[in-house]
């Protein structure tokens, strides 16, 4: 959601509104805090990206929060199995908006080498909207940095990735059906 969407239509092109919007986008794009959640092989490369050689910190993205409530980015690093899917959806749900997802590794893009397995999800975008696809098995840390910079570009200039909106909406609808509804006022 952008600030521009919140204001009445006649103010949409107002210079103050657009400037504030641009400022907030700048803030979001430069401070993406990933959730330190790793599923498999790719998570080791994710850790390498944060370590001293590749140093994700240079871009301000090194604050790996261990709690989904305080993170902005879910890097799904590694093979996603059906058994892991409900917890992962729950993690995604716990993250506050605006939130982003990077599908790291071939397994998350289309199943990778395990595509014909009985327990592997063939493609993360069946479950949740994916912002950036990062191929590789596993992708190198440089590639992860590149993916995060692509994400930055996407946050600052959403119009550059307009083509994928339809696909994102499809996954959002899927997600709506999958999440656990919480009845108001009822405590589990």
């Amino acid at each position: 959601m952008e600030i521009v969407d919140l204001v009445p239509p006649e103010l949409k092109n107002n210079v103050i509104v657009t400037s504030v919007d641009a400022l907030f986008k700048w803030g979001r794009a430069n401070s993406i805090w990933p959730l330190s959640s790793g599923l498999a092989c790719c998570s080791i490369e994710m850790m390498c990206a944060a370590a001293s050689r590749f140093d994700l910190a240079r871009f301000g993205y090194e604050v790996f929060r261990s709690c989904p409530r305080q993170s902005d980015l879910l890097i799904v690093a590694g093979t996603l199995t059906w058994k892991m899917t409900p917890p992962l959806i729950r993690l995604y749900e716990e993250m506050p908006n605006p939130k982003y997802v990077i599908a790291m590794g071939n397994c998350n893009i289309g199943g990778g080498p395990f595509a014909d397995s009985y327990s592997v999800v063939t493609g993360l975008d069946q479950i949740m909207p994916v912002d950036v696809y990062l191929p590789g098995c596993p992708p190198r840390p440089e590639a992860l940095i590149d993916a995060m910079l692509k994400l930055k570009k996407r946050i600052q200039h959403p119009e550059t990735a307009a083509g994928s909106e339809e696909r994102m909406n499809m996954s959002r609808e899927n997600l709506e059906n999958m999440i656990r509804p919480i009845a108001p006022g009822k405590v589990e």
Binding site: L35, S36, S37, G38, L39, A40, C41, S43, I44, E45, M47, C48, A51, S52, R53, S66, P68, G78, T79, T81, K83, M84, P87, L88, L91, P113, F114, D116, S117, Y118, S119, V120, C137, P138, R140
Partner: protein, 365 residues
Amino acid sequence: MATTEKFVLNMGPQHPSTHGVLQVQVELDGENIVGAKPVMGYLHRGIEKLMESRTYQQCVPFTDRLDYVSSMNNNLGFCMAVEKLAGIEVPERAQYIRTICCELNRIASHHVFIGSLTNDLGSATGMIYAFRDREKILDLFNIICGARMTCHYIRIGGVIADAQDEFLQKTEEFINYVPEMLDEYDRLFTGNEIFQKRMQGTSIISKEDALRFGMSGPNIRASGWDYDIRKIDKYGIYGKLDFDIPVGKTGDNWDRYIIRLQEIVESAKIIRQCLDNMPEGPFMAKVPKMLKPPKGDAYHRVENTRGELGFYIVSDGTNKPYRVHIRRPSFINLQALDHMCKGMVLADAVTAFATIDPLMGEVDC
């Protein structure tokens, strides 16, 4: 007498200290642990089933993804099992290169162990230092096969490419760097009072218990058994090499950590001997493109970083294995987790997860 209520704390599958997607249901009484039940399967990809529909050569990349931080050792285990089944003789140079790569990978894997252990103990700096040194080994793999983690370098019958002079030279440089590296670790955490205090005397596995749980690898050696497949089976060229097996005394977290540090030294020793005695010759045996081993079954075990890794392959005479079973060391080691956590406090449970060193790719297979 006042009684308190017990409560179950669910750690994982997403938890910063559970090394991937291990879920542990910890039953707590205050901060004291009454029981810890591991729940796994969140990374079960069905590799054993998938291998049944691939040719033997195509199976090797799957083994990379079993224990993904020591992929060379996994490649070796599978390839040696197939070689045993099909009766393939591996050239000597290939065996030397294999040994160098496996031992390098053992060091790299212990780096991940040290990194995740120190990170779980709350010192992120330790992790960064361990990963910095691990990069040096990954660079070597990058030179020799072009991949950093999932190498797929050891193939059935040998290795896929010869070791270049650059690789051998840089390996030697790395081996010379090892004492300096360990010295730095000593100053940063091994010598740290807090670090020692948290590790010593916690999560003890006695000698009998280690055998009872069927543990292997550094975990059983920390409990006092000198059980190392490299020495017992003398597979490959390990019979010709001179190295020691570090053995612990008490079997606590501290021993499990120190043993891994000592293993780094031993691995460096092995690599140096291999570099000195490297023979010339072919690096790949003549293996038919369509490999059809005779009917029968074979079991071969190697000393993986985490313990005894075994491959049981049944062949029905076609080019695809009829059944592959993998004896995964961390899967079996994980049985001791409940025993290790009982009676400890919550902070020690985290240390126990780290020192038992499970890797979920291998546990769940």
